[in-house]
């Protein structure tokens, strides 16, 4: 059998990182977090549950690292490892041996080169533990391994007391898709328990926190978790870490489950993964899956069109309104009526409501929005899903109505949407010097606390810049008169021409992630570029090709590259830990890093020490639960500019725009 994927290993500080088709599978520095999370909870529960030797099936996981964890258990009698990629197995038997402890050579292990689904259909035996360790599902064929159909094959091969444990996807970056897998496992009565872990190498690659599930046909009760005995040596997973990893913010649940669906077809999952809508921050309340939970507890997080529709980005709401107005309603209503014969009275009531109100809606007359909201919301959400179901639309090159190439942001969250720009036409125009910006210099605070100015040196991204002294700056779209100096612990806001900082904010997760990713890729690019140049020199010099005199500009460019290499190396050291500051659980809308709109409609600032203050601004109400920041003119100007920028951004939700407009209007009235 030939190798199916492109496999790569890269050295990483004394170890290796392993990539399949460019996607990080593990980094030996922290892979134990992943593999212990995947194996130890299920294997430990099973050990207590069965009190006898047990047989294990590993699907995927050809690298042997999950196997290493399993083989720590003396009562593991036999393990069948099924992986269809011979290349991975070969790595496991050679380069990965120092890390997987040569697990594939253990006499208890049988390696079977086969597709997992094919194997499950062929066999008749059952296993006590099934470990599922597949690559990230970024295509229809890989999503197939996360469907109801595939999981039902697993269920058929699982003993009645047995456990299944599976690697999933990020619960924070792909909440709807993560909770769809949960729903799918529930639909099969596999009683899943969700678990999450922070894996630094995954986070630095922009993969977010990582999620797992373990489940069983026989309910895993709290006692089994609370009395769990980790009788094997571990490097990461203690009982407390396990129980903590099973706590999920309610905001994640509410948002994720509101969009989640049972994955019947691969496209159900791919559609949700492609949306990558992020999650709203919450009020800090969590749902603890290590405690007894009834499905009544989860019911409140069910599918709600109203809630989803409330998050539709402003630009999309406009597009959808146009579509609704253009539909042939007479035909649509007629078709719905035809299909209602076997439907519930509640559904007929919804239909009658739609029929009654739609003419008013189309004529833009007064109608009962609160009553019609549910049915119209359902249609709006439906049209979005219809558009997203076709995988290529994720990378659609343009959008109708308002012109081609706008951002594809379906649902607005506090995080910037992943599909911020579009993947073509990208011959870069940013320069090593002479960056075209309205303000050539930026202010910073030196180590003595004095404000000074310096020039930009290199654009790391469209928004993040570095100076020759290695300081990092962030600019925000439409707010070019302001800059943030990004330090490893805070963001310091400056106004152009100002003699002192406006405010020092707490560091921002998203900024940290983007910064960290780009430092990594730019370092890699620089390293490769300089290496290519050295290779070229080694043959060009003897061939006398370098006699062509190098221009001054080129000499300068090389000097800059060398300087940049040093700067990026220092930044890598300084900023490698800033990608994941403590999670912020408040249910606030983020206006800018450190600046939020609270659910009390107040402007809130997060200070560099992590505490919150309310900022009294114009007609925005005060939040009495926290102390007030002292108002000042520069901050007033910034907040005002920020609000105006949001009012002109298509992706800011209409509801937020309405609050911002009201706040400004109330302020003007008071003045």
């Amino acid at each position: 059998m030939t190798n199916k994927h492109r496999l790569e290993t890269k050295p990483s500080d004394g170890g290796v990182s392993f990539y399949i088709d460019g996607s990080l599978q593990f980094d030996t520095r922290d892979e134990f977090i992943y593999h212990e999370s995947l194996v130890i909870p299920a294997a430990s529960i099973l050990t207590s549950r069965l009190k006898r030797p047990f047989d294990v099936l590993v699907l995927g996981g050809g690298d042997g690292l999950a196997l290493r964890e399993l083989l720590k258990y003396d009562n593991v009698r036999q393990v069948d490892l099924v992986d269809y990629d011979q290349g991975v197995i070969e790595y496991a038997k050679s380069q990965f041996v120092p890390w997987n402890k040569d697990a594939l050579s253990d006499p208890r292990v049988t390696v079977i080169l086969k597709e997992a689904g094919e194997y499950l259909k062929e066999i008749r035996k059952t296993y006590d533990l099934i470990v599922v360790d597949f690559t990230f599902p970024d295509r229809l064929d890989t999503c197939r391994l996360f469907t109801e159909g595939f999981y039902s094959l697993i269920k058929q091969r699982l003993s009645s007391d047995g456990l299944v444990t599976l690697n999933s996807i990020s619960p924070d970056l792909s909440a709807p898709a993560y909770w769809s897998i949960f729903k799918t496992l529930i639909s099969l009565k596999l009683n899943p328990k969700p678990l999450k872990a922070k894996i630094p190498s995954f986070i630095s690659h922009g993969y977010g926190d990582w999620g797992f599930f373990f489940g069983s046909q026989k309910l895993i009760v709290s006692r089994e978790l609370n009395d769990i005995k980790l009788s094997v040596p571990v490097r990461y997973l203690g009982k407390e870490i396990l129980l903590d990893g099973m706590k999920f913010p309610k905001a994640h649940m509410a948002w994720g489950l509101s969009l989640a669906t049972v994955v019947e077809e691969p496209s159900d999952l791919l559609c949700l993964l492609n949306m990558r809508v992020g999650v709203p921050s919450g009020d800090g309340s969590v749902l603890d899956f290590s405690k007894p939970l009834t499905y009544e507890d989860l019911k409140s997080f069910g599918f709600s069109h109203d809630m989803i529709a409330a998050h539709i980005a402003g630009e999309w709401l406009d597009k959808l309104s146009l579509i609704l107005k253009s539909l042939d309603w007479e035909t649509l209503l007629c078709e719905i009526e035809k299909n209602l014969s076997n439907s519930s009275s509640a559904l007929r009531e919804e239909f009658n409501l739609l029929k009654r109100e739609i003419p008013h809606l189309l004529r833009e007359e007064v109608f009962c929005w609160e009553r019609i909201q549910k049915v119209v919301s359902a249609l709006l959400v439906l049209v979005i899903f219809i558009n997203m179901l076709y995988p290529d639309n994720v990378f659609a090159k343009g959008s109708g109505g308002s012109g081609s190439g706008e951002e594809i942001v379906f649902f607005s969250q506090t995080q910037r949407a992943a599909y911020y720009a579009l993947p073509f036409g990208l011959i870069a125009l940013n320069r090593l010097s002479n960056i075209q910006r309205p303000y050539p210099t930026v202010a910073y605070v030196d180590k003595d606390g004095v404000v000074k100015n310096e020039n930009f040196f290199f654009a790391l991204t469209d928004d993040l810049y570095i100076s020759e002294a290695g300081r990092v700056y962030l600019s925000l779209p439409k707010l070019l008169q302001y800059e943030f100096q990004v330090t490893p612990t805070s963001l310091i806001l400056f106004e152009k021409g100002g003699s002192s900082p406006v405010f020092e904010f707490y560091s921002d997760t998203k900024v940290g992630e983007v910064l960290s990713q780009n430092i990594t890729v730019q370092r890699k690019a620089l390293e490769r570029t300089l290496k290519d140049y050295q290779t070229w020199l080694s043959w060009a010099a003897p061939a006398q090709l370098v006699f062509q005199e190098r221009g001054q500009a080129e000499v300068k460019d090389f000097e800059k590259l060398k300087k940049l290499q040093v700067i990026l190396s220092n930044l890598h050291n300084d900023y490698s830990d800033i990608s994941s500051p403590p999670e912020e659980q408040r249910d606030f809308f983020k206006l800018a890093p450190g600046v939020y709109l609270s659910n009390q409609r107040s402007i809130m600032l997060r200070k560099s020490d992590g505490t919150w203050v309310a900022y009294p601004f114009q007609g925005f109400p005060q939040d009495s639960t926290v102390s007030n920041s002292r108002p000042n003119d520069t901050m007033d100007r910034f907040i005002n500019a920020l609000i105006k920028a949001h009012l002109s951004r298509p992706e800011t939700p209409q509801a937020v725009k309405a609050i911002l407009t009201d706040g400004l209007a109330a302020g003007q009235k008071a003045n």
Partner: protein, 336 residues
Amino acid sequence: MHLRYLTDNDKPQWEDLVRSTPESGFMQSWAWSSFKELEGQTVLRLGVFSDDVLCAGTIVYYVLSSVGASALEMPYGPVLPWGKAEVASQAMDLIYKELEKISAETGAPLARIEPFIEGVLPSFMGKVIRAPLDLIPTPTLIIPIDKEDNDILAQMTAKGRYNIKLAQKKSVEVYYAIDEDAIEDFYYLFELTYHRHNFAGEPRSYFESMLRALKNDNMIRVYFSRYKGMLMGAAIAIFYGKRATFLYGGSTSFFSSVMAAYGLHWQMMKDARAVGCCEYDFFGIAPDGKPDHPYSRFSQFKFRFGGKKFVASGAHDMYFYSQLAKMWIKSIETAK
């Protein structure tokens, strides 16, 4: 006139038809549809015959989901004899009837057409609604390349010509490859670029499948620019029929002063002409009056190559109300 599903035997006639229809493009090619099949999509190839001669048709792409099929997508389709309204209208009627059948079988609530046509779609297309998403960007910039070098250069801006000459003077090397290792180098630059612009790029396997599917039909080339051994930029070009398309690109931020990007596009244009293409499509520019548009910064660069803005009518949807009704009912029933 009758419609039937095309088989592998029909491929040569289909290719002749699509390649000679300027209102169509590479996403209606047989090879592109094979690429989409590799990606797991369902592909249907409909042909309309008049006196047993293939005169029209469309390749339809969709995926199935638990709520029904996605839209029946026809990027650069349907392929019709647009200049002969009566024939085109008859062919479209047959295609529409078949799409209706497919909709009933799969649950697809709409079909999305996207011919490469400027202005309003002809009335025989029936009641269509402007789609919220386009797979083919509009507007785009088309450079006529069926000319001598000097004539192509003459219609560029002075800055564009200067930068091309500068790249040549700096000995920027441009070459192309079609082996799978080319994707390795391309993706390194693409990844660097998508991180820099903070968007999510397609996975590498997407480009690998694309190359595998298109290279046997000589439709794809992966271009690179190098300066003194250093990889500066890369682009994926599609050469199909009379049109060459710059589909994806990536670059480092280093040594922009040697204008490698200009050298890259100039070579792609000349190579496209050599294989019989008459126009070079930059695949998307910012619409007028939108300075904050994500394409604005790239549009400025592209306009230096001259050319003409082409504002296609964009994607349009034909709804199948019976399926939309069923989807709505299911959606309301599953909500809490």
